[in-house]
């Protein structure tokens, strides 16, 4: 037992630290100024995120705290997504400040920022302990945010459900992690991979325990991802939670889950992926999950009448598509996942933002209440249409390129050998269900455009709201027509892992 103080490299953690401090400042500011101006805090939070983005851009790669904190392209890429989704969530929540949240504005924003910090921390950790901490730091503020409307039964119910299921699944995951720790003797992911391979070669009979660990961890992360069969909280929580929070959940939290998944399963358990490791092969399990996700998400969404629930189911389905990219673990798989998540951020945040503005004005989330919106608020209607079409994967919007990339990765893997032919099933079901998906995605479009009478609501957008919608639109159009920079950036993720086939 010889201790050696590791190099710290605190500058690597600068964005997280800054954001943390900024969040604290916001709470303080809110208390100090006695909540005079309803929007000041919000603008401050946005400012903080912008500054943080600037800091992020100058933070380099490298590792600190004895490999517990590790900045790699993946971390950087996903941090951009976290910041972006937090920015859009905050910007689209200005309408709430007006009526529903009067007394806790500072906390609201600060909690979002805290959660963002947790996500960023999570994406930088290369070690199970810090990963767990990051995950919890992400989740706990979200419990609170989900239940933020204290007098609204639905919101409280959402918070309660989210809390119970979240804690339950995190316990499951911890249990799994403890087995991994026991099998490998370390929590460092890279070291763990090596140790596990050695133990596996030495003792053939650890398979059962390992399988158990994999299953339990899958359960824990599947909760974050809303991957069936761990998905059921999603629609309920989305429906009950404040709309911007639901948006943030659907993008930020999901991206965090993806990072954790990539870290543990791809970086850590990669050796146990593949045909030769059939008993411990987690790829097919995830594949089945993805299939369930696409079927359940797309089919159930068809019957929804509440647009937030519909988007909830749609997000379940989207996870299915993302997971297709994840299980096709070639050089392109992670790239496509990264790119998918990136475009998904724009489209989904945009769609939720529009829903939020509409809800602020009309108080309704029913799809039928969107009737005739294209005549009174053409910009909003057109934007929502484009977001939904992007989610459905219609070219030339970014969602299409993302889907294309995911399926390309999958087919590349599937054609690479007979052992991977099962991936064809994923592709087939993914594509088929994407046809079903179109049906519910165009349902609001139909209401907005095809109806004869005018909508009773005329929605004028405030500046931040307009910004959010515009960012979303630019994102899906620009990265649909010119996705190359992002794809290049995303391709560094798998390059940084460096051990994938081909």
């Amino acid at each position: 037992m010889n201790f050696q103080l590791p190099e710290i490299h605190i500058s690597l953690m600068l964005p997280e630290l800054f954001l943390f401090i900024w969040a604290l400042l916001i709470i303080t500011f809110d208390v100090v100024t006695k909540r005079k101006n309803e929007h000041t805090v919000g603008y401050l939070a946005l400012l903080g995120l912008l500054i943080d983005g600037a800091i992020l851009s100058v933070t380099g790669y490298g590792s600190g705290f004895g490999n517990m904190f590790f900045n790699d392209p993946m971390a950087l890429f996903f941090k951009v997504i976290f910041l972006g989704s937090a920015f859009m969530a905050i910007a689209s929540s200005f309408g709430l400040m007006h009526q529903k949240i009067v007394n806790h504005r500072g906390e609201f924003y600060a909690l979002i920022l805290f959660s963002t910090v947790g996500m960023m921390f999570l994406s930088s950790s290369d070690e199970l302990l810090s990963l767990y901490i990051g995950l919890e730091l992400t989740t706990i503020p979200l419990f609170v945010l989900a239940a933020f409307f204290k007098d609204d039964r639905l919101s409280v119910e959402a918070g309660m459900k989210y809390f119970v299921i979240g804690a339950f699944s995190s316990a499951l995951m911890l249990y799994g992690i403890s087995f991994l720790y026991g099998l490998s003797g370390t929590t460092d992911l890279v070291q763990m991979k090596i140790n596990l391979a050695i133990t596996h070669l030495t003792f053939k009979d650890i398979g059962v325990i390992l399988s158990l660990a994999v299953l339990l961890i899958l359960g824990g992360i599947g909760f974050k991802l809303a991957l069936p069969p761990f998905h059921q909280w999603t629609p309920d929580v989305y429906e009950g939670a404040p709309t911007p929070v639901a948006a943030f959940l659907s993008v930020g939290s999901k991206a965090a889950g993806l990072v954790a998944f990539a870290k543990i399963f791809i970086n850590g358990l990669y050796a146990f992926y593949g045909a030769e490791m059939a008993p411990n092969d987690w790829g097919r399990l995830v594949g089945v999950g993805a299939i369930l996700a696409m079927i359940i998400g797309n089919v159930v969404a068809i019957r929804q009448t509440n647009i937030k629930r519909m988007l909830g189911y749609s997000s379940i389905a989207q996870v299915g598509y993302i997971m297709i990219g994840m299980v096709s673990m070639n050089e392109f798989g992670l790239t496509s996942v990264g790119f998918y998540m990136f475009t998904y951020m724009f489209a989904n945040m945009g769609a939720f933002a529009v829903v939020a503005f509409f809800e602020d004005k009309s108080g309704s989330c029913q799809i039928s209440s969107y009737r005739g919106l294209s005549k009174t608020s053409p910009f909003l209607a057109t934007s929502l249409t484009m977001f939904l079409l992007s989610l459905a994967g219609i070219p030339p919007l970014a969602g299409f390129v993302a889907k294309y990339a995911v399926f390309a990765a999958a087919i590349n893997m599937a054609t690479s050998g007979v052992a991977y032919h099962w991936i064809f099933w994923l592709v087939g079901i993914g594509l088929l269900t994407s046809v079903f998906a179109l049906f519910y995605y165009v349902n609001p479009v139909k209401q907005m455009f095809f109806s004869k009478e005018d909508s009773p609501y005329k929605i004028s957008l405030s500046a931040p709201a307009f910004t959010v919608v515009l960012i979303g639109l630019i994102g899906i159009v620009l990265f649909g027509l010119y996705p190359d920079p992002i794809l290049q950036f995303a391709s560094q993720i798998s390059a940084s892992f460096g051990f994938l086939p081909h």
Partner: protein, 99 residues
């Protein structure tokens, strides 16, 4: 060591059972704590018997205790809200949103 692991497994199972069957939300939270503690036992046992050259497992369990406490705080707050809105903390009531 097997004994420790078995204990942990039993505790964990009891916790899971409790989460699924308890009707009282407080009971559910207690069951959750049981599950966390089972994990802690696991970590400590592994640290004691297998990975003897570092204290990582014990540190991990310390962190878990802290996080679990934080979670309990948030959880109890939400339970309070629940009580305020439903005048009760029966988990079966909380199913307004479904389908």
């Amino acid at each position: 060591m097997l004994a420790y692991l078995s204990l942990a497994a039993i505790l964990f199972s009891i916790g899971m059972f409790g989460v699924i069957t308890r009707r009282n939300v407080i009971g559910i939270m207690m069951s959750l704590e049981l599950m966390f503690n089972a994990v802690n036992i696991n970590f400590v046992a592994f640290n004691k018997f297998i990975v003897t050259d570092s204290l990582l497992g014990q540190i991990f369990s310390a962190f878990i205790i802290v996080v679990a406490a934080a979670e309990a705080v948030v959880g109890l707050a939400i339970v309070l809200l629940l009580y305020r809105n439903w005048q009760g903390i029966n988990s079966d009531q909380v199913n307004v949103m479904k389908w």
